[in-house]
């Protein structure tokens, strides 16, 4: 930006203070001082000051004008003094013209610069500060429907996406202190570096509010670890996809649902955070159904599957704390989940009986005769959790009970047993076989306060063979 030496003033005709003090600008000019006036709205204002048209606000934006009138003193291209609003003594002092404000009031506050009109900062940042965003611009024709255009380009998951305009992406990026060009993760299957900017674009498309972005970034980091193995999860013929479980204060702050219908539709944060992660895998990573995604059935949770744990109503420590995150911090836990199987028990009033129900129902994850290679999440409802709270059962006590109940004689589980060819290898016929590997059963508390139901989220090939649940703190 090259400003002319001398005095440079920024005004707008719609500002009463500018109208009032305009005679001073004329007088400054008449006094022989080099003066350049930029007008933000009416290129003919002020009459007699030969104003330059800055209705496109380029100069105002580059100078960082916040108030009109603003007077700058410029020496060899550099701003050496700046006055905002009208204070007669200051203007006379800076210009050295003693009667500059003769007949004018001693003081009037200025008006906001047009660069600060609602929505304008984002527009100007796009127009003149576009270097902040590096992504390729894709122009949509005037008569082209932008939603159809995004479908045609393959950017959507089957549902419409929000057009990722520069303004929206810049607003999204305001929710994080991270540099837009910082690489968050290397996203499979194409192993493409995903910047904060690319994540923000997809978060916009998913429908996220800016305050969700830190959760999306944490989920993305967790998903793209080798432990979680989102590549394999994408490529598998099994139904599973990433499930995002959110713990800590961020969940309440951004309005996530951990109560009634927590695993269902209707909450924007739940719906769009999970969707943003899947859109990043689709668009940045290049992972698409029929391409690297080879799922036989898939499941509806592959559009989005994200919910918060109900920590306040829980008798137990939060999942994230159990998995090592400090108490009081926000964290996401990624789980390779294949869908929801609800379970009912309206009769049990003792923890022993209810734990037996849980164990019986958990046996069917993947196949009742297969064990150790499939993880699961048990989502305990408030009415079921009450039974354990009243009996004083800690989560560890429930686990201990489940471990025992979920261990069965290998003879019942080997191939051919029960007339079913599927099953565990024959070598295990003499052993006791636990259903889940150590750490393979996650227990969380969520759901509405009415209903003696809990829910099982079945997993995928577990551990080093497939996916390990991964917990990451959310940095806000």
């Amino acid at each position: 930006m090259d400003l002319p030496d001398g005095y440079v003033a920024f005004v707008k005709a719609s500002c009463p203070t500018c109208q009032m003090m305009a005679p001073a600008l004329i007088r400054l000019r008449e006094a022989g001082s080099p003066l350049t006036v930029y007008s933000q709205d009416d290129p003919a204002f002020p009459d007699g000051a030969s104003p330059l048209d800055d209705s496109e606000l380029r100069t105002s934006y580059e100078v960082g004008v916040e108030v009109v009138p603003t007077l700058l003193r410029v020496e060899t291209g550099a701003v050496t003094d700046r006055l905002e609003g009208w204070l007669r003594t200051e203007w006379e002092g800076l210009t050295g013209v003693p009667e500059l404000g003769a007949g004018l009031p001693p003081y009037r506050a200025g008006c906001a610069s047009r660069t600060l009109d609602p929505g304008m900062p984002e527009q100007l940042a796009i127009r003149y500060g576009g270097d902040k965003l590096r992504s390729r611009r894709v122009e949509v024709a005037e008569l082209e429907d932008e939603f159809e255009a995004m479908f045609e380009r393959g950017w959507a998951d089957g549902l419409p996406v929000v057009p990722p305009t520069g303004e929206r992406v810049l607003r999204m990026l305001e929710a994080t202190r991270r540099d837009p060009q910082e690489v968050v993760a290397v996203v499979p299957p194409d192993l493409v570096e995903c910047t904060v900017e690319k994540a923000a674009i997809n978060a916009v498309m998913a429908g996220c509010r800016p305050e969700y972005l830190p959760v999306v970034l944490a989920a993305l980091e967790a998903a793209c670890t080798s432990e979680f193995n989102i590549h394999g999860l994408l490529a598998t013929t099994w139904s599973a996809g990433p499930v995002v479980i959110v713990n800590g204060p961020v969940a309440q702050r951004i309005g996530m649902n951990s109560g009634g219908n927590a695993l269902g539709q209707g909450n924007r944060a739940n719906a769009t955070i999970g969707r943003a992660l899947q859109l990043i895998v689709r668009n940045v990573g290049g992972g698409r159904p029929g391409g690297v995604d080879r799922a036989t059935h898939g499941n509806p949770g592959k559009y989005t599957f994200c919910f918060a744990e109900d920590e306040q109503g829980s008798p137990w420590e939060p999942l994230s704390v159990e998995r090592g995150a400090p108490v009081g911090t926000s964290a996401v836990t990624l789980f390779a989940g294949s869908g929801v199987q609800p379970l009912v028990d309206q009769q049990s009033r003792t923890p022993e009986s209810l734990a037996r129900t849980f164990a019986t129902c958990l046996q069917v994850v993947a196949h009742p005769k297969l064990a150790l290679t499939w993880d699961a999440v048990l989502v305990v409802s408030p009415e079921h959790a009450r039974v354990f709270r009243e009996a004083g059962w800690a989560k560890a006590r429930l686990r201990e009970e489940l471990d025992g109940r979920l261990t069965r004689p290998g003879a019942e589980m080997v191939r051919g047993a029960g007339g079913i060819a599927e099953g565990m290898p024959p070598a295990l016929a003499g052993a006791d076989v636990p259903k889940f590997r150590r750490g393979g059963l996650l227990i969380v508390h969520a759901g509405g306060t009415a209903g003696m139901f809990s829910a099982i989220i079945g997993g995928w090939a577990s551990g080093a063979v497939g996916s390990e649940p991964v917990t990451r703190e959310v940095s806000e």
């Binding site: 992504s135 894709v138 024709a141 005037e142 932008e146």
Partner: protein, 93 residues
């Protein structure tokens, strides 16, 4: 509706433009666009092509880029896309 500029959400490994449609095996029943890129004498070539194509019963639509120095505007590309089955672009001087 005002024209929209979107930020590419992809890893940018693919060209932003969409893939070309497959080349038709016959022009029968098709609409052919003739795109003049606004270089001198391109119209001479395209006028003759129009004469030949129209003579064979092919429907012809004429288009013109505002200037040969810049890519065709998105609106023009879209118009050709929705109106034509094939397009011939005259690059001639």
């Amino acid at each position: 509706m005002t024209r929209t500029e979107l930020l590419d959400p992809t890893g940018e490994r693919q060209p932003a433009a969409r893939q070309r449609v497959t080349r038709p095996t016959s022009l029968e029943g098709l609409t052919v666009g003739l795109l003049d890129i606004s270089k001198p004498r391109g119209d001479v070539f395209l006028d003759r092509l129009e004469e030949l194509l129209s003579g064979r019963g092919v429907e012809v639509l004429r288009f013109r880029k505002p200037t040969f120095t810049k890519p065709a505007p998105a609106d023009l590309r879209h118009e050709i896309q929705v109106k034509c089955d094939a397009v011939v672009e005259a690059l001639a001087d």
